[in-house]
């Protein structure tokens, strides 16, 4: 158990004992990987872990727990997605306690049948702009090293996006793992059959992916949950990053960096002659 883990557990124990929160979203071990866990009793805090395998973005659960007071363990990008959710009125900042953990990047999760033996720093973590959540009620410093990069090259330069899209199963894991894809009637799942039918794979994967990219543009916090959840490892975050770059170049805006910054569509100013 690392020092950071110890600190994290004591914070969570205190929160639960004082009944500040009903439950805390954290990570636990199972087998050799890490998965999300929901801790609601002080004696359960021993399950909590924090390390470079904790790639999932727990903010995904916040909307379904809206009526309750929850604590959440948040990496830098997770914190950014909390900011976005608050700005989009999906969660109430007052009802969540953010336990920010300093993050040095996460590993790509191990995938079934993969031939990669070494563990690799996730692609999106190399583009990370904040290692600590922009909102925090508690802060756990990591003090550890950045994860070793055992295998940097392999497959990270794919650029033939059409053939990458073709691999997609339209399983919706990318959508469901994303904290910011919260629409109950998702236009690319099949609720709007004129745009994307439910079953028309692979014909409509182009529209599927481009529409998702457009819906994430200027909102995606590049947490990589979609990319890591994807069973066929399509590097989606790289695509969304390009669109975020467009927003940065044109509006100087990066999503999820501060609660007071309004998103570009809202500040779209009239004026400026042709």
């Amino acid at each position: 158990m690392s020092r950071a883990e110890e600190e994290l557990r004591s914070i969570v124990r205190k929160l639960l004992e004082r009944k500040d929160v009903e439950l805390v979203l954290g990570y636990e071990y199972y087998g050799r990987s890490v998965r999300p866990c929901f801790v609601s009793k002080p004696e359960e805090v021993e399950r909590l872990v924090w390390n470079s395998d904790c790639w999932f973005n727990l903010a995904t659960y916040l909307r379904s727990l809206r009526s309750r007071r929850v604590g959440i363990v948040a990496k830098g990008c997770d914190g950014r997605s909390i900011v976005e959710l608050v700005k989009e009125n999906q969660v109430d900042r007052g009802s969540i306690v953010v336990i920010a953990v300093e993050c040095n990047g996460v590993f790509k999760p191990f995938k079934y049948g993969s031939t990669h033996v070494g563990r690799r720093l996730a692609d999106y973590c190399r583009r990370c702009v904040t290692r600590v959540s922009p909102v925090a009620d508690y802060l756990v410093k990591k003090g550890g090293q950045a994860p070793e990069d055992e295998n940097t090259v392999a497959g990270d330069n794919a650029s033939d996006w059409l053939s990458l899209f073709r691999k997609c199963l339209k399983c919706m894991a990318c959508v469901k793992a994303c904290p910011l894809c919260y629409c109950t009637e998702c236009s690319i799942e099949g609720f709007k059959p004129d745009l994307v039918h439910r079953l028309r794979v692979p014909q409509e994967l182009f529209t599927f992916h481009l529409t998702r990219a457009l819906h994430m543009a200027g909102r995606c916090v590049e947490c990589g949950a979609c990319e890591s959840a994807c069973p066929v490892e399509i590097p989606l975050t790289r695509l969304y990053h390009e669109l975020n770059e467009w927003f940065r170049e044109n509006y100087g805006y990066a999503p999820g960096m501060s609660l007071s910054e309004a998103p570009p569509p809202l500040v779209f100013k009239e004026g400026g002659e042709d």
């Binding site: 087998g31 929901f38 995938k111 079934y112 399983c171 469901k176 439910r198 959840a229 069973p231």
Partner: protein
């Protein structure tokens, strides 16, 4: 049982490739997928397993059921699969085909699309060399050496393969190249016995299950456990899309290129759209309901109706689920 040495295998493969469409695991970007190969060298045999099961060759993700042209009133029913040999299916995935057979070929209404594909594809399975951590095929007796839905079982031993024809189609494939095979000697059979013991011992998951108890799973649902696990599930439906056994489908009609088209494609019980009716009513309202359904169907309802379980222990859902939902936990608790 027959024995086929390495050389013979290579020759057999070349023969097959020149005569028929051969689909075999090919390495691409760090994992393996089934692809049509043009020459024997493309196939790779030291894979742990393909990331996606060979399900799509029998149940394509989307297929046209019929097309109807309103002007000419012609009804077009695409049918008939391409003759092919599917080589290197792991025993667990091959056993999944057996479950498909019992469900989809059940009289009086067998699925004609599945039937024609199943008839035209010869499945050759290959024993596992090294079970992965997430494998638990031994629990359902679906591996690691022998599955239950294949036409030919290949078992890798020193110097070659043990060959067992499991069906008439398998038998005839062996007969065509009979000169390549030889009768397996006692040393081969001895090694086979040892291998079976060793691999079963090496399996990471040793779960005792009892059919009787699992069949009652639905009645004895420990809601607390399921609620906890379901709370984690994000309903991404990745687990059913990558499962070799999940066969649920949906149909969709639309108008395209001057014809009405009815298609059929993969559906998944994790989706909120799965049981939603046209009126908007959804009998499976909550996430827990949908989540429990997956396990009850696989482990309790399929065994109730057919002589098999709805899971073959391939471990795909265990390893790929983004939030670590593990079907083995259900088995451990209720098995």
């Amino acid at each position: 049982m027959l024995f086929l040495d390495e050389d013979g295998f290579k020759r057999l493969l070349e023969q097959l490739v020149s005569n028929i469409r051969v689909i075999a695991p090919v390495e691409t970007d760090g994992y393996f997928e089934f692809k049509t190969i043009k020459h024997g060298g493309e196939a790779s045999l030291d894979y742990s397993n393909t990331r996606l099961p060979p399900k799509r060759f029998f149940l394509p993700q989307r297929e046209v059921v019929f097309k109807h042209d309103p002007k000419t009133r012609a009804l077009h029913e695409p049918m008939g699969g391409l003759e092919a040999v599917l080589l290197g299916v792991r025993p667990c995935d091959a056993s999944a085909l057996n479950i498909f057979d019992s469900v989809l070929l059940k009289p009086p209404n067998p699925d004609p699309f599945y039937e024609s594909r199943r008839r035209s594809i010869t499945v050759v399975s290959l024993s596992c060399a090294k079970p992965r951590e997430e494998c638990f095929c031994n629990v359902f007796e679906a591996g690691p050496i022998r599955g239950s839905g294949e036409d030919i079982t290949l078992t890798r031993i020193t110097g070659g393969f043990l060959v067992e024809a499991r069906s008439r189609r398998g038998q005839s494939l062996v007969e065509v190249s009979a000169s390549l095979f030889e009768e397996a000697g006692p040393e081969h059979l001895e090694e086979y016995g040892e291998l079976t013991c060793r691999l079963t011992r090496e399996m990471n998951s040793r779960i005792e299950i009892s059919r009787e108890r699992l069949v009652r799973l639905e009645a004895t649902l420990d809601e607390g456990f399921f609620q906890q696990a379901a709370q984690r599930c994000v309903e991404c439906s990745l687990c059913s899309f990558t499962c070799p056994v999940c066969y649920c489908f949906d149909t969709e009609d639309y108008f395209e290129k001057n014809a009405y088209v009815r298609t059929k494609g993969w559906d998944t019980c994790a989706s909120t759209l799965f049981t939603r009716m046209a009126s908007g009513l959804d009998p499976r309202v909550s996430r827990v309901d949908r989540f429990c359904h997956r396990f009850c169907h696989k482990l309790s309802r399929i065994p109730m109706a057919f002589n098999s379980f709805g899971c073959v222990g391939c471990g795909r859902c265990v390893s790929l689920c983004p939030v670590g939902v593990d079907i083995r936990e259900v088995l451990k608790r209720w098995g």
